[in-house]
């Protein structure tokens, strides 16, 4: 029942936001023929929208100095911005979704993870500006440097987290391969385990010895099917959540300069809430798709388990790829640009 209510609330919220948006000129700007770039469909629209919200924030914070009620507008804009903004890169959508698929998590835990990591992103942003700008009166250069360091740390953590997932999921996949010996071609693909993650593997229940895909007394799939444990969930939250959104930092510094730091903090958390809703929606889609796949493959002899372990292994590999790609700049995500 509560679930239904939440879903309904979500739909209504989206509907309200969309309704309000479509009432306006889709490209807002008054210039003829639209100086807004023609980016394809939904993505372009999201880009245009969130830019609009973001730019309204500064004027709203300014207005809030003299008119307290503008704070409510600020909060509403921040929330909407969060929803739209999270459709862009970062915010851990891909990482969280892949992790959920790899780790047999439930949709419910997916939602919790999304909200927890978004909350942490907000906290980190408030912390950076609170300590950096408010307490130490550091310059933008110093704060941006800190932001960059945190960004690199986040990417490294995602890569390490992915390596650990690949290690455990690789074991399960190999075990499934041995249970279904009819698929020799896939054995090569299973060779992908990461030696760098060896340190993670001690003290884990799913201990895998893998000498050239020979012996593998990994856990059986049912053992791994249990919840990944809060430890692993917390590492996911930490790896994703440690990186704050640059937009939030700009808003916080601006609010601080206007003497309305508290309004900036409130806006940041509303942004985080909006972000969490988008990330959670995508996470739930990923988990549901996987559950469906599981249901269909369950009807198949032997091969079903193999497919599912393969999907999990691939998803684990994706987390590692995202981390490594972001770390080495192959994925041109929203990099922090210090001017």
């Amino acid at each position: 029942m509560a679930k239904c209510a939440a879903a309904l609330a979500l739909v209504l919220m989206f509907d309200a936001v969309l309704g309000q948006l479509s009432a306006q000129n889709p490209f807002g700007a008054p210039r003829p023929s639209g100086s807004e770039p023609h980016v394809g469909g939904v993505v372009g629209w999201l880009l245009a929208k969130q830019s609009e919200f973001y730019r309204e924030m500064s004027s709203t914070i300014r207005a809030a100095k003299s008119d307290g009620s503008a704070v409510w507008t600020l909060l509403a804009i921040s929330f909407a911005y969060g929803i739209f903004h999270a459709a862009g890169p970062g915010h851990g959508k891909a990482v969280i979704s892949s992790y959920l698929v790899a780790n047999q998590e439930t949709a419910r835990r997916g939602i919790i993870l999304s909200f927890a990591s978004a909350l942490m992103q907000s906290l980190v942003a408030v912390l950076i500006v609170g300590v950096g700008a408010w307490l130490l009166n550091a310059t933008a250069k110093t704060m941006c440097g800190a932001e960059r360091a945190v960004e690199i740390a986040s990417y490294a953590l995602i890569a390490a987290f992915g390596a650990r997932l690949v290690w455990t999921k690789g074991g399960a996949f190999i075990a499934a391969l041995q249970a279904a010996p009819s698929a020799p071609a896939l054995v090569l693909a299973a060779h992908h385990h990461d030696h760098g993650s060896a340190r993670d593997h001690h003290g884990q229940a799913n201990h895998v010895h893998d000498e050239h895909c020979g012996h593998s007394h990994g856990p059986d799939p049912i053992q791994l099917a249990g919840p990944g444990g809060w430890g692993r969930g917390l590492s996911a939250i930490f790896a994703v959540g440690i990186r704050p959104c640059s937009g939030a930092i700009l808003v916080l510094v601006f609010a601080l300069a206007q003497g309305l730091f508290w309004a900036g903090i409130a806006a940041t958390f509303l942004m985080g809430l909006g972000t969490a809703i988008t990330v959670a929606t995508i996470a739930v889609i990923a988990v549901s798709a996987k559950d469906l796949a599981q249901r269909f493959s369950a009807g198949r002899e032997g091969g079903g388990a193999l497919i599912m372990r393969g999907v999990e292994f691939a998803a684990a590999g994706l987390v590692l790829l995202f981390g490594a790609g972001l770390l080495f700049g192959y994925i041109a995500a929203e990099r922090v640009t210090c001017l």
């Binding site: 770039p37 023609h38 993505v43 459709a87 862009g88 891909a94 796949a293 041109a332």
Partner: protein, 214 residues
Amino acid sequence: MVRNRLRLVLGALLLAVFVPAGSAQAHPHVWIAASSELIYAPDGSITGVRHAWSFDEMFSTYALQGIETKTKGIYSREELGPLAQTNVESLKEFDFFTFAKADGKKTKLLEPVDYFLEYKDAVLTLHFTLPLKTPAKPKELALEVFDPAFFIDFKFEGAEPVKLVGAPAACQMQFLRPGDGAASAQKLGESNFLNGDNSNYGAMFANKITVQCP
């Protein structure tokens, strides 16, 4: 039957994981209202580009964070000197977001000269001139201003945001904003979301200046 459905669901699963990753394109956090002047020598060769970039209010405030001044809220050119220095040094990493081609060949721009910041009406403006490594007299000079990562959105506003200074009378300047038509020829749809290399994603937001001299 079951196999087909399974394939369908696996496809959907891939989409659910990939689409957010791929379609997740960068979006700007900094807006710059730009204006540029192309500087010509008396002999008709182009010597450099003079930019004036006004940052949006939010970024202006952010950039000024922690800068001490004699009078609160008033920033002199001298007080902003170290920040201007930081700006041009940081911009180097991004090639000053200015990309020049003379007759189709990439032209090297030198590090900026005459750079300074001014603060007026809550907006910070960075002025700087990028000299051409070797002044040239190309038949066609193409200049693009944009951030390939699209962290910064450059908008050339006003009636005459691009000017030729001292150019031969016969030279014709054409300026295209992103989305003016020419740029949309290379637009990226959602179709190429799996193309891993989106490093030049910002190119479709390029402001293109072309000068043709007979």
